[in-house]
Symmetry: C2
DNA sequence: CTGTTAGCGCTTTCAC
DNA sequence: GTGAAAGCGCTAACAG
């Protein structure tokens, strides 16, 4: 075949011929089997390079009945937090020779189902999924019906069913409350988003539990819109009330930074007049004015743990399900407890 | 259902048997061929549902010699900017029935090469790549050698070779300079990162060209470390010099927000005492104190365009290569030109 | 150690 | 309209 534009794809067959061995032997060389002599191996490898051979995983997968790919279903691939999660997942997968198929449910549960279906068609060996808002246990039973191993991350659809890896939201919020109390704050508000999924619920519960422990009332709970940061809902009226809050724990740093912006523009200095604590430790938290005290969660760690748990689950499908909580810390800066700017 | 762990995987064969037709006919039904009668189609579809059939794309791919997957090689999947890009890419791919295989070069050119190799093994039909720092034209020739269609995004390794889609960095910087000049600023600094890749270079060139057009000197170019925002390098000495800058254009909003934090902590009010312009329009830019004027690039648009261009390139491999610049705008807020807080 | 053989699940001529 | 047969490129028994 004279190589005009469409030369025949080089496959194991051609490599084997070039090296003067059989396809089977060449295949063994590929997978670094010790069964093949150094001499033969060398010849085969030389042939591979000479011909520019590229291993066809698709064909191998078809034969071996597994693909070395794993589906990752996130509900908001645009968020930095999720990207960090991906980094952790990717880290483990790279070591295990696995590629992630990333899909986005965009918080839409029909789309989530469609995407999972698509991943199945692609033959993924497992699933890491952050359930879209509105998912319930039928999600898990749908997945289980197909026999595909899976791990939930960041959110779960039930407090007990299925494997789950996530940050210790409640513990983090608890740290924040204790810190505020230690610094003399007594009227603590919670700008907590809406408890539409397990993560938000756990934060809220952590908040309420911590307040109870410190014998404080938890009546300053403000739902916030995470997409429209300029809207602090009923915070306005709280601030104007008879006993306004002197501190706030925010759903995340985005909310906290916005709140600080708002306070500044009203002439109040966060950290002195009003304590603010965020969550996530965005890069900006370290350089804002004032710098932001924040609950540090470890999304990369969550990703790593989820990936590892899934790999375990794939090799050990019958083991009983697990809940992994990755603990966080408090990064103390100027907005609460740190030296004032 | 007592599914005894290892029931035979249901394939097209079983569906065909169940429906009382041949494999070939069943296959036609799958792909919605008009060649099959409504009656038969109905029977086959019923059989598929009954058996819980899942299409095996791997097998189909092997046969058709294409996979319906595309490799996306990014150099920093953790950055929000890249996540936005992914959203645009994903949007187009979902419509085209394509799945993205996402890999991370982590700005490491060996890893980049390894990952590309891996993607090839998975049989991707094309590549969207943001070249890691240090990549040169050999990257393109390596890819071209394999005959795989590709599109560069956000950065390119040569001003002419290969397809490229990116924001109009130079144009954006130009907008910013004109805006500053319009507001009476004359000593404009550029906190521009290091020009280690095409994006940074284009921003810098845009800056210099714009200053020339306004007959200003462009001697206030400060390389900044994008990972360590608290370090503004020689900015310190600039500010202390005989003719200090009265404005700064920053590499991105992260740098700009840090700079504003710094200014505030030194008692200067950004927007009044010193104008600051960022780039990217992060959510925080709208809620910081003061709010941040910023060059709005459109990463989602870049992603969409890159994905579409790649799809074109796949169907039309011989067409000559293209450069697409996605234009941006200036979002005017308090830190320059907007009403003072 | 190496070769032979028989598929993995699907698509695609080409007959009928 | 539908079916029969021939692979896509690889791996896994099993022989030698």
């Amino acid at each position: 075949m004279s190589t005009g534009g469409s030369q025949k794809r080089v496959n194991l067959q051609s490599v084997a011929e070039e090296a003067g061995v059989s396809r089977a032997t060449a295949s063994l060389v590929l997978r670094e089997s010790p069964l093949v002599s150094a001499e033969t191996r060398k010849r085969v490898i030389a042939a591979m390079h000479k011909l520019g051979y590229i291993y066809n995983r698709g064909a191998a997968n078809l034969r071996r009945q597994r693909t070395g790919t794993i589906g990752v279903v996130l509900c908001n691939i645009g968020s930095p937090f999720y990207s960090k999660l991906l980094i952790g997942i990717d880290e483990v997968f790279v070591d295990a020779g696995i590629v992630a198929l990333l899909v986005n449910s965009a918080e839409n549960i029909e789309r989530q189902m469609r995407q999972i279906w698509r991943l199945r068609e692609h033959g993924v060996d497992g699933l890491i999924i952050c359930p879209a808002v509105g998912s319930d246990e039928t999600l898990l039973s749908e997945i289980e019906k197909t026999g595909l191993p899976y791990v939930q991350v960041l959110r779960h659809v039930s407090p007990t069913a299925g494997d789950y890896v996530g940050p210790d939201y409640a513990g983090g919020t608890d740290l924040a409350v204790s810190h505020l109390v230690r610094h003399g704050r007594r009227k603590i508000a919670f700008l907590g988003g809406n408890p539409v999924h397990s993560a938000a619920c756990e934060r809220l519960e952590g908040f309420q539990r911590a307040l109870r422990r410190h014998c404080l009332e938890s009546d300053l709970i403000v739902p916030t819109d995470l997409d429209n940061l300029s809207d602090f809902g009923s915070l306005e009226s709280l601030m104007a009330s008879a006993s306004p809050p002197d501190a706030a724990i925010c759903y995340n740093d985005m909310v906290a930074l916005s709140l600080m912006g708002r306070l500044l523009s009203e002439g109040e200095l966060p950290g002195r007049d009003f304590a603010v604590i965020g969550a996530d430790n965005l890069p900006q938290a370290a350089t804002s004015f004032p710098t932001l005290t924040t609950i540090v969660t470890d999304p990369v760690g969550v990703g790593r743990n989820a990936a590892r748990l899934l790999l375990d689950r794939i090799t050990e499908p019958r083991a009983s399900s697990m809940r992994v909580l990755v603990s966080g810390q408090l990064m103390v800066r100027e907005s609460c407890g740190g030296p004032l700017p």
